[in-house]
């Protein structure tokens, strides 16, 4: 589904990525890093904003329970579920990733139901020397995956979190990271991808990963190469 012929750009249209805005303070970094990675990023605060998007990014903010409330109030809960169930490309980051699972311990009552798109639940990091786990830590591959193409195993990515999901299906796990005990730092299931770290804050490794995601989202098209940071809002 590349653009029409003619004299336009020959490198193919930019992947259109909708970044779900459900109250996050920091939409700037995620949008700008996607643009730098070659995407056409739009902020999606209501269901109609998803129309025309090729891929969806669910960023992270705060705790699971209020995040679910925001998604419901903005009418985004079912569109998000429908999107993923239709097998369309979706990347969850940090809390956005945790929301994919059945439930989270990070709630006032210690039990917040979440999206239920992947089996498992989000629990506090075990035996962590410091909480939250903040900083650059290495991501160790469990299996090769195109999301990490061109990124050396053990590369450092930037983390800010106290909880992490425990998938019921070990088969979805792509990478682990150790802080105290090892936890799952990346998963992939079909076109659904989840990262516990922040690619938008992880310098070149993060940019490469986002380019890989865009490449996967665009089907068999190769990941776009380096592009200028483009317009600043």
């Amino acid at each position: 589904m590349s653009g029409s012929g003619g004299s336009g750009g020959s490198s193919g249209a930019r992947v259109r990525v909708a970044v779900l805005d459900y109250g996050a303070a920091n939409m700037v970094s995620i949008s700008q890093s996607l643009v730098a990675a070659g995407a056409n990023a739009v902020v999606a605060a209501e269901p109609s904003d998803l129309a025309g998007a090729d891929a969806l990014v669910v960023p992270g903010v705060g705790a699971a329970a209020p995040a679910m409330v925001h998604l419901r109030e903005q009418g985004l809960l079912e569109p998000l579920r429908d999107w993923v169930r239709a097998g369309r490309p979706c990347l969850g980051i940090c809390l956005g990733f945790q929301l994919f699972f059945d439930a989270s311990d990070e709630g006032d009552a210690g039990d917040a139901p979440t999206l239920g798109l992947l089996a498992g639940r989000t629990v506090a990091l075990q035996d962590a020397p410091t909480l939250p786990h903040i900083g650059w830590n290495s991501v160790e591959a469990v299996r090769p995956h195109p999301l990490f193409a061109g990124i050396p195993d053990g590369s450092y990515f930037y983390f800010v979190h106290s909880f992490a999901p425990v998938p019921a299906d070990e088969g979805v796990v792509v990478a682990r990271t150790t802080h105290g005990r090892p936890f799952v730092s990346a998963v992939a299931s079909g076109s659904l991808y989840g990262l516990q770290f922040h690619p938008e804050k992880s310098a070149d490794a993060g940019q490469r990963l986002l380019r890989n995601f865009l490449g996967l989202a665009a089907g068999d098209r190769p990941a776009p190469g380096d592009r200028p940071a483009a317009e600043v809002a």
Partner: protein, 264 residues
């Protein structure tokens, strides 16, 4: 294992990076977004953006500078300078900062740390402590430091270690500790000050003030117990590169994030 961080600091006045923190003889060192992008490419683990004018008239310029910087350097960004309320912190986060650093405002209104931590999480709240060594009394007495504010121009009654402990209790998730005795002197970090604080708190401590070369970074971590090390002019002036500092840290057995970059 978490990497020890190397952090270039941008002192920004009226939208431009300036040299030093002494408020005199300011020289223009460049555009903050451009410098931040360069440092991120060279392996900076984080960028600290300190608005040293911190005047309310300059708010728009400051936020625009933060926005431009966050749009070009895809590493964590800490912003300090003149943030006095929860609402102002929200504006800075919305402009693209990940953390906000409080200095004079936290001394004047310690509850600010609590209010901001409740609203945005303690991981986003940094307490910056400018400390000056007190004259020692009897021989052999332990060293002590007092907190100074307003860029070192004003004394407080606060003892630095006690203030550090209190700031963490109030909600600070990280401490940026600057030795005002060493700042700008290129005579090495005050590792005694760093150790006195890092041994008493469980949050990360960023060492600042006095960097002259890679060995100082190693000492700040190994002897001072710092989790991160910050410097300004040695990087701006290209006296040392982030890569050379990290290489020295790695050689000393410290975990650091090494990036292989095409030298340009």
């Amino acid at each position: 294992m978490l990497a020890r961080r190397v952090i270039p600091c941008l002192d920004v006045a009226n939208g431009r990076v300036v040299k030093g923190t002494k408020f005199v003889d300011l020289t223009d060192e460049g555009d903050p977004a451009e410098l931040a992008e360069r440092y991120a490419r060279e392996g900076a683990d984080e960028i600290v953006f300190l608005d040293i004018t911190a005047a309310h008239e300059g708010r728009g310029t400051m936020l625009e500078g933060v926005r431009r910087t966050a749009s070009r350097a895809f590493v964590p960004l800490t912003v300090g300078g003149g943030v006095r309320t929860v609402a102002e912190m929200r504006d800075v986060l919305r402009a693209g900062a990940d953390k906000v650093s409080f200095n004079t405002a936290a001394v004047a209104d310690p509850d600010l740390l609590t209010g901001c931590a409740r609203k945005f999480g303690s991981q986003a709240v940094v307490c910056a402590i400018d400390a000056r060594r007190l004259p020692t009394g009897a021989a052999g007495s332990a060293p002590a430091w007092e907190v100074v504010t307003h860029g070192g121009r004003r004394q407080t009654e606060l003892e630095a270690v006690a203030w550090a402990i209190r700031a963490v209790e109030l909600g600070a998730g990280e401490l940026l500790v600057t030795s005002m005795d060493r700042d700008g002197t290129r005579s090495g970090f005050d590792t005694e000050l760093l150790r006195a604080i890092s041994s008493q708190v469980r949050v990360p401590v960023i060492a600042s003030g006095g960097a002259s070369g890679p060995d100082d970074f190693v000492a700040a971590v190994r002897d001072g117990g710092a989790d991160a090390v910050l410097a300004a002019s040695i990087f701006h002036r290209r006296m040392h590169s982030i890569a050379s500092v990290k290489a020295a840290m790695a050689e000393a057995g410290l975990p650091v994030r090494i990036v292989e970059e095409a030298v340009s």
